[in-house]
């Protein structure tokens, strides 16, 4: 009987092909849009996260508790070695690198600025960030100390412009060391970097870690160990493995593991905000579509009052009629949802290959450090979530007419023609 119902429903659907096609197209339209937009959102989030993660932040960082909030020079990882050893033992960790940071006055011949100076390990840093790739002039830092005895420095291009320096120029660095002593030295600009992210380019200056530790009397201490997993999704696993390992090491102040979400809480919240507002837009769109097609479902029944009357008169139970009508609506919706999902996937895949050029929005992309060509990302979730929502809401619209049938009286129904 079920097979026959389905066959009957399918034939009923195509009794009025034009109407059915329009309805199916409306559903498919919503699904295509939802699959594409949701994939586009996911894709741009990933680009934004990856941009921030790979330029500087890393997937996770190990820091002394409280360092994230205050950037206080005294809150150090006194001995990074055991932490690094623990990290090497975690298979999800792709690379890690130590960094140290301190506030200092940077002076060129003309200008003085107060900046957070960073000490990096040139070899390890290459593995965790794009720093080596964004050197636009000059060259990256050498692992070996340079011949002239002056430590090398990488300077962000906006900072270099403000300081009025170029490759080869000297800078004076003046700050306060770990022990409160005066930390002063000269460095030579080896390279100018451009991350395409204004905030970074305005404030970045890196010198080799060993020189940094000398100047600021840090010994072997560092401020953070940046960790990069093989993939963004490894973050949780690395964190889970790292927390007990750090507890075992047990230092004062205690070391904490911060993932990118706690390192960049603004980014995380901005993403959830975008998701929620997107969801509101999609929901309203689906509602408009649902009311647009509700008439098709309604008409499919009121046009056939006589027919239903006859069927009931020859013994068809109202429940079966309801089921038949529901099967028709669901069938129509499914055709729309599935074709919409498939076309949506194709459209998304096309743009995954070719990218979407944001064109004139380059000011905005520089603000967030994203390229001006974005790629959507088709995942199982972005493929299914939109069509599923469309399906459920459309189903809701189909219920009303289907249950209306139960109130039909055979004799009265047959009289209506």
């Amino acid at each position: 009987m079920v097979a026959m119902d389905i066959k009957m429903a399918w034939r009923n659907i195509w009794r009025n092909p034009r109407r059915t096609l329009l309805t199916v197209t409306a559903i498919a339209f919503a699904c295509i849009l939802l699959v594409f937009m949701f994939s586009f959102q996911l894709g741009s989030y990933e680009t934004m996260i990856n941009a921030s993660v790979t330029v500087h932040t890393g997937h996770l960082q190990v820091q002394a508790q409280g360092y994230q909030a205050d950037n206080e020079i005294r809150l150090t990882i006194a001995d990074p070695l055991p932490v690094q050893k623990a990290l090497t033992a975690i298979p999800e960790v792709k690379a890690h690198a130590p960094r140290a940071r301190a506030f200092a006055l940077i002076s060129s011949n003309y200008r003085t600025y107060g900046i957070m100076v960073e000490g990096i390990d040139p070899v390890a840093e290459k593995q965790v960030s794009t720093l080596a790739d964004i050197v636009r002039q000059g060259k990256y830092l050498d692992a070996a100390p340079p011949d002239d005895g002056l430590p090398g420095a990488l300077v962000g291009h906006l900072l270099a412009r403000n300081l009025g320096v170029s490759v080869g120029d000297e800078l004076t660095l003046l700050g306060q060391g770990y022990d409160g002593s005066i930390a002063a030295t000269m460095v030579r600009v080896h390279g100018i970097t451009n991350a395409g992210m204004d905030e970074f380019d305005r404030s970045a200056i890196q010198i080799p870690l060993n020189a940094f530790q000398d100047i600021f009397s840090l010994g072997s201490a560092v401020h953070e160990i940046v960790i990069l997993g093989h993939h963004l999704s490894d973050t949780a696993a690395i964190k889970a493995a790292l927390v007990p390992a750090l507890e075992k090491i047990g230092t004062r102040p205690p070391l904490v593991t911060l993932d990118w979400e706690s390192l960049m809480p603004g980014l995380k919240q901005a993403i959830s905000m975008d998701l929620v507002s997107g969801a509101i837009f999609y929901l309203i769109l689906i509602m408009v579509v649902a009311f647009s097609i509700l008439n098709t479902f309604l008409m499919a029944i009121f046009e056939r009052t006589y027919e239903f009357g006859v069927m009931m008169a020859i013994g068809t139970r109202p429940a079966r009629l309801t089921r038949l009508v529901l099967t028709e609506s669901i069938g129509m919706t499914l055709v729309g949802v599935i074709s919409g999902m498939l076309i949506g996937c194709l459209v998304t895949m096309y743009f995954m290959a070719h990218g979407i050029n944001l064109g004139d929005a380059s000011e905005i992309s520089r603000q967030f450090g994203i390229p001006s060509v974005l790629y959507p990302k088709l995942t199982l979730v972005s493929m299914l979530a939109g069509p599923l929502a469309v399906f459920l809401i459309t189903l809701l619209a189909a219920f009303y007419p289907a249950f209306k049938i139960r109130t039909l009286q055979p004799v009265e129904a047959m009289r209506q023609r």
């Binding site: 309805t23 107060g114 603004g266 919240q269 975008d274 008439n295 000011e363």
Partner: protein, 407 residues
């Protein structure tokens, strides 16, 4: 009479008409309401940008925008302010400022900041700082060592009003100038980054500390309306030509906001079109149903000699009425939603960090602008009629015989 017939035809099937009306109403409501919310977001961004020291028009020394340092100051601001007195309309405000990078420090902490020297009474009408002091007091014209500190910076520095703060910067001669200030007040701003990066002292104190005489870094102008900015900037630019100045409107000074403005313009348009397409299917389908149900009727009318064009007109009139009623109710609901939210807005303080990351303000108040209202209604009305042209022409093409055989 046509109108009356159309009206009666529509209500021959009240359920169907109600359903399609609801679709149109939701569509129009969402266009107006969500459009107004998007406008509200961008307006909040612009308001933030303008009150966070940009103003509607800014005047700097020519090199300053590229190289914001004390070397590129305006040496003779009096000559410019004279022109401003003559040129600016009533209701405009302007003030001169000194703005330099500096290092703030106390016993335990130090940070890189932007030191701003302001004219306390004039600044009040101009930027956020005039009404932002929440603890302690605002600056007074003759203060020599009073300083205003942002809440976030005060927290980081573990300090409060009455405590000392040392400022260090490069003076006009290239020497390092250093001076101790006493915190007069703590200010709060929309963005935490503003609270962290700006410190305010009086302009005179800044000029003395930096040995810059009467020179200033910038002149900021607030006009009665932001729309006059480009025009005023152009006029001032010609008036002040030859003085090596950069006169910029807020659109030029804040290119990021200008790009956001354009981006949101296209968002809103796309949203209008998408919603219309969604309800267009419904309008088309419903009109088609109504037409095919009445095939016999149209055949008869034609057999009686009615001209096809009148049938087209009749059906379009019916569609027009549905669209019109839907638009009316949709506008009413949309405007009412905006009105209801206009008092408190949507408060996003719980997501303060995300809001700041995205550069938005914490409270979104919907803003209805004529362009959007007109756009939404025109899109629905014109495209709606266009869509209904198909069933209307279809109806007019029924030949009497075939139509009367049908059914």
């Amino acid at each position: 009479m046509d109108l009356q017939i159309a009206w009666r035809n529509i209500w021959r099937n009240p359920r169907r008409t109600t359903v399609i009306l609801i679709a149109v109403v939701i569509g129009v409501w969402s266009m107006i309401f969500l459009g107004a919310l998007m406008r509200g977001i961008i307006r909040g961004m612009i308001h933030n940008g303008i009150t966070t020291l940009t103003g509607h028009v800014q005047i700097h020394q020519q090199q300053y925008p590229d190289d914001p340092s004390i070397d590129n100051s305006i040496d003779d601001p009096a000559a410019i302010t004279q022109v401003l007195e003559q040129q600016l309309s009533d209701g405009s405000h302007w003030a001169t400022r000194v703005r330099v990078n500096a290092i703030a420090s106390n016993a335990r902490h130090n940070a890189s900041v932007t030191l701003v020297g302001i004219d306390p009474p004039k600044e009040k009408a101009l930027s956020f700082i005039g009404s932002a002091v929440t603890q302690g007091r605002y600056l007074e014209a003759d203060d020599t060592n009073a300083i205003l500190v942002g809440r976030a910076l005060a927290k980081r520095f573990e300090t409060k009003p009455g405590r000392k703060l040392i400022l260090m910067t490069q003076d006009n001669t290239g020497q390092i100038a250093s001076k101790a200030f006493r915190i007069a007040g703590i200010f709060q701003a929309e963005m935490e980054s503003t609270e962290k990066s700006y410190l305010f002292i009086t302009r005179k104190a800044a000029q003395n500390m930096l040995k810059m005489g009467p020179a200033v870094s910038e002149i900021s102008i607030l006009l009665p309306s932001p729309d006059q900015a480009s025009q005023t900037a152009q006029r001032l630019d010609t008036q002040l030509a030859g003085q090596q100045l950069a006169v910029r409107s807020w659109q030029e000074a804040l290119p990021l906001l200008q790009s956001y403005l354009e981006l949101y313009d296209s968002f809103i348009l796309i949203w209008f079109v998408v919603v219309f397409v969604a309800m267009g299917f419904g309008i088309l389908n419903t009109t088609l149903m109504a037409v095919f149900e009445r095939m016999r009727e149209f055949g008869l009318l034609k057999a009686l000699g009615m001209r096809p064009i009148r049938i087209v007109k009749g059906i379009l009139t019916e569609a027009l009425i549905i669209l019109f009623v839907g638009i009316l109710i949709g506008n009413g609901l949309g405007l009412f939603s905006c009105y209801a939210l206009s008092f408190h807005g949507i408060n996003l303080s719980a997501l303060a960090q995300g809001v700041e990351y995205a550069g938005m303000s914490r409270v979104i108040i919907p803003q209805v602008i004529a362009k959007d209202l007109l756009g939404a209604n025109l899109v629905v009305l014109l495209l709606g009629l266009l869509v209904c042209l198909y069933p209307a022409v279809k109806a007019a093409r029924f030949t009497p015989v075939e139509a009367m055989v049908h059914n």
